[in-house]
Symmetry: C2
Subunit: 342 residues, 2 copies
Amino acid sequence: MTRDGDNVERIQLAHGGGGRMTAELIESVILPALGGGDAATLADAAAVDVRGQAAMTTDTYVVQPLEFPGGDIGTLAVAGTVNDLAVFGAVPRALSLGLVIEEGLETALLRRVLESAGRAAADAGVAVVTGDTKVVPRGAVDKLVVNTTGVGEIHPGAQLGFDAVGEGDKIVVSGALGEHGLAVMACREALGLSAELDSDCGSVAPLALGLIERLGDAVRFMRDPTRGGLAATAVELARGTGRDVALDEAAIPVNPTARAAAEMLGLDLLTVANEGKLVAVVGAEAAEQARAVLTEQPAGAHAAVIGTVRERAEMPVVEMTTLAGGRRIVQMPYGEELPRIC
Amino acid sequence: MTRDGDNVERIQLAHGGGGRMTAELIESVILPALGGGDAATLADAAAVDVRGQAAMTTDTYVVQPLEFPGGDIGTLAVAGTVNDLAVFGAVPRALSLGLVIEEGLETALLRRVLESAGRAAADAGVAVVTGDTKVVPRGAVDKLVVNTTGVGEIHPGAQLGFDAVGEGDKIVVSGALGEHGLAVMACREALGLSAELDSDCGSVAPLALGLIERLGDAVRFMRDPTRGGLAATAVELARGTGRDVALDEAAIPVNPTARAAAEMLGLDLLTVANEGKLVAVVGAEAAEQARAVLTEQPAGAHAAVIGTVRERAEMPVVEMTTLAGGRRIVQMPYGEELPRIC
């Protein structure tokens, strides 16, 4: 890798041409970071070992800044896609990694975020099997865009879907809300918080698959409440099932630093993105066991039962009993409160 | 969709927030263009029907301009990924589509390129099963970045790989070289060509899978010569097999308008990207049949046998007998001759 005037290694346009310099970038930066051996590890296409029914999901990550308290775009890109598979009831089996790099990006930064991606993939027990690298002229993207697509194997015990949800089912969340979105915003806005606020970005696969293995078809529906937060997930649940949803604000776990940050930024914690939380709908009789199963893992230590699915309704709504004992309707967030959060 | 002052519908940042406006964009623009029914068609994750051994490939597309003679980023994004599966010997089964849209992009342009993607997918007999849409502030990407990831089913008759290639095997190409890269460059540079030059962007899956079905294990290796062109593919073949490769320039099909454009731009046709061509290595006895099988389809009408795999070598090279009867070494292109070509 060549260095420029300030003695910093940077990605050059020529690293994207499909020739010798592309091979050098892949062999000296990308593969070592992902823990791969030879170039064949990131070939144009790869065989994937899936038994039974396959599942597929994709996400493109544009978070800014690329590194934030508690994670970076590499961790996020792996965790986010692993999580979409897990809440679909699928065991992650293979990931693809597509990079679009702005020329001039510091090679060291690229290496760090790829190392994070490699660690996150190893932790999730999934391999990056194929990839693609484009380098574009300055201004054509802002530093780095990462796509990860995941293929998984649907767990034979997973019986998930809106159709499986019934009256009286309970809503369980694996921990405190809003930490990802607020950590990124606090870092961007340089809020003077009294305590460090870390993104929760990480895999929920052990939580989600743990629930399926232990509770079977008592698990009706799962989501990771990312963009739009718990509010979007709860409204999606109400619309998808055609049933009212009741949330209990007092039961929702919240990190006090996140609450303070949300107040400073004028944001509703319910609408802020999470990147390492699981929302599960489970049969009423299994709710306490679900909470207990989640709390067995550090990532689920603050799991709580936060709501109930109600009867069918013409125009199903999400209603929350507030801390003050009042009631408010939780709405689908309208547009973009926090651009480039994931 | 709202209109701005000049009465043009444009994508707004709020279309990416994961809320109501995202749902509106997906339901009013993305799904209709892709021929999908309801929103479930582009859920966060989807089940994929794969029997036997699965294959996976990914590519991110940053071509500029988004629409060019003979295609657009939508056609390209589908064809490119379908082609990577096909040359791997896999029948395409499912695609994911990840969009990163710059706010302010004209909605009509987005609709056009998605309709192209939908048509290309239908033509290739593959469904877009899952997607992701991000909208970023002005300047964070240049208009539109598209990732497609494909999952396919490896054809049971495919026995492809460098190991399968032997001395005397023949190299067949499905048609004329360099049309994609040159069509995009000619459009960007407003070259005054005497005839229209269209990109070749399109699926090579029927060609590749046709060869496997008709010739079986006489097909040893396949590639679509995209970035780096035939030069990169031939050098990759030489290195991967550890064998010299001989090309015959007189046999290589060339479109005269492409040749003129390459001369005007000072480019070597061998290094220019193709997006709808197949390079196959086949047993010598099957070479003529392979050519004939390719010519049965319009996309392979100009197929030709253009070279031979030679004996093992310490430092394997690609040597081309030129039109003038001389010889030259074909090298791996070094860097980026044509940024944002795919």
